[in-house]
Symmetry: C2
Subunit: 244 residues, 2 copies
């Protein structure tokens, strides 16, 4: 933490990240409530984002991402390198016969939610798998589990679990159990109701993202899939390191 952090910038970035992740437009009072912020403050920060093009208002006066977000997307994609390093490997992973109806995903953790850069269902064209999947609570995603396991302190996991309890979803083991398992084993695993198993590994040291495959694996195929995941994660991490 620097000697004099700039609080306006910190709070403004919180507003921006919430706005672009929200999935629907949001009023300034709602934004204030979401962030636990005094309403005038939220309104002023949103207005500032609008002034620079990162937000805009609809006829209902609610705020949504503005034209500057396309620029920010292009810039941060380039600054990040993650998607460009990972994509060829994700493609290769999909082309293997790890399991029928394989899902492949690449995601990052933000406030106990998984934000997917890539999420490809079976037979989905690559061009439809990029930046199209909605946010997921960390506890509903093996990527969330492995990322919480590697980055989350106890409070963060408890918070994620509390958030999960208000959401109607298929029953999963308790999040803290999943996280503990991931800490022991070094990978995330979630078993869904219809026999689907989702496996995730971390990318990078320190961890920057999670890579997952999901399918109805034969039991004997799970270690194979896991090994392949780990290999792919290592390739991506190496390529990322080379770009730095």
């Amino acid at each position: 933490m620097p000697a004099q952090p700039n609080q306006s910038l910190i709070d403004g970035l919180r507003v921006l990240q919430t706005l672009v992740s929200h999935g629907q437009s949001v009023g300034s009072r709602d934004m204030a409530a979401i962030l636990g912020m005094e309403p005038t403050r939220a309104n002023r920060l949103l207005g500032t984002l609008a002034a620079v093009g990162l937000a805009e208002q609809g006829t209902d006066r609610k705020y949504r991402p503005g034209p500057g977000v396309h620029v920010l997307a292009a810039q941060s994609l380039q600054g990040s390198h993650l998607l460009s390093c990972a994509l060829p490997h994700l493609e290769a992973l999909r082309e293997e016969n790890l399991a029928p109806d394989l899902v492949v995903a690449l995601g990052v953790l933000w406030q106990r939610q998984v934000c997917y850069l890539f999420h490809a269902r079976p037979r989905m064209a690559l061009s439809q798998a990029i930046g199209t999947h909605e946010l997921e609570p960390a506890g509903n995603s093996s990527i969330g589990v492995i990322l919480l396991a590697q980055t989350g302190v106890g409070e963060e996991v408890a918070l994620a679990e509390a958030e999960l309890s208000g959401i109607s979803k298929p029953p999963l083991p308790s999040l803290s159990e999943s996280v503990a398992h991931a800490r022991r084993e070094g990978f995330g695993r979630l078993d869904f109701r219809q026999g689907e198993v989702s496996l995730a590994v971390a990318i990078g040291e320190p961890v920057i993202a999670g890579l997952a495959v999901s399918a109805k694996f034969e039991a004997a195929q799970i270690p194979v899939a896991l090994a392949r995941l780990q290999e792919t994660a290592a390739l991506i991490a190496r390529e990322m390191a080379r770009k730095s």
Copy 2:
């Protein structure tokens, strides 16, 4: 412009956008010089970005994008929708036989530079075309030309032209001529030395991005390519509108 814009947020965003677009790490004094900012200020804003994970320092103490940029990339990709709406259409465009050795590109304009979300050279895999192309001065790109034509006031064009004169590149017509032509005709066109022609149209109203194809076109094929570009831009714009 709101009654009370937050100047710290505005300046912090400038620093962030410059950092993630820069392509190499940058010291705090250099950042100050680039942005015409007092050095302590730049240092403090960079330190703040580092505190929230959007920047990090290497052993040389220079700043580069930090792990939070992967999150920001994922979030802004989702908030933007542009790449996800455009990708299937870009893929379709590449699969047509508009010309041999066709380049297809999608870019946005930032400070008289084109930042590419997508830039595919001939025979390049889709997975290698996303977020991989470096920034280009607007005057070297037909996307830049059309975007300046539709958004740039006179000063902006003059600035872009001045910036271009310091860069060694193949000779092109003067930028203001290209921009004037684009304003008249409604599309951007640049003719390069080896007979390559680059054509670009704007996406959206108001314009949000530019779409270009580039090749050694037969003269008779140019209107065909242009019509196809315009169609594709309209499809993308319609899909973007549907998502709002």
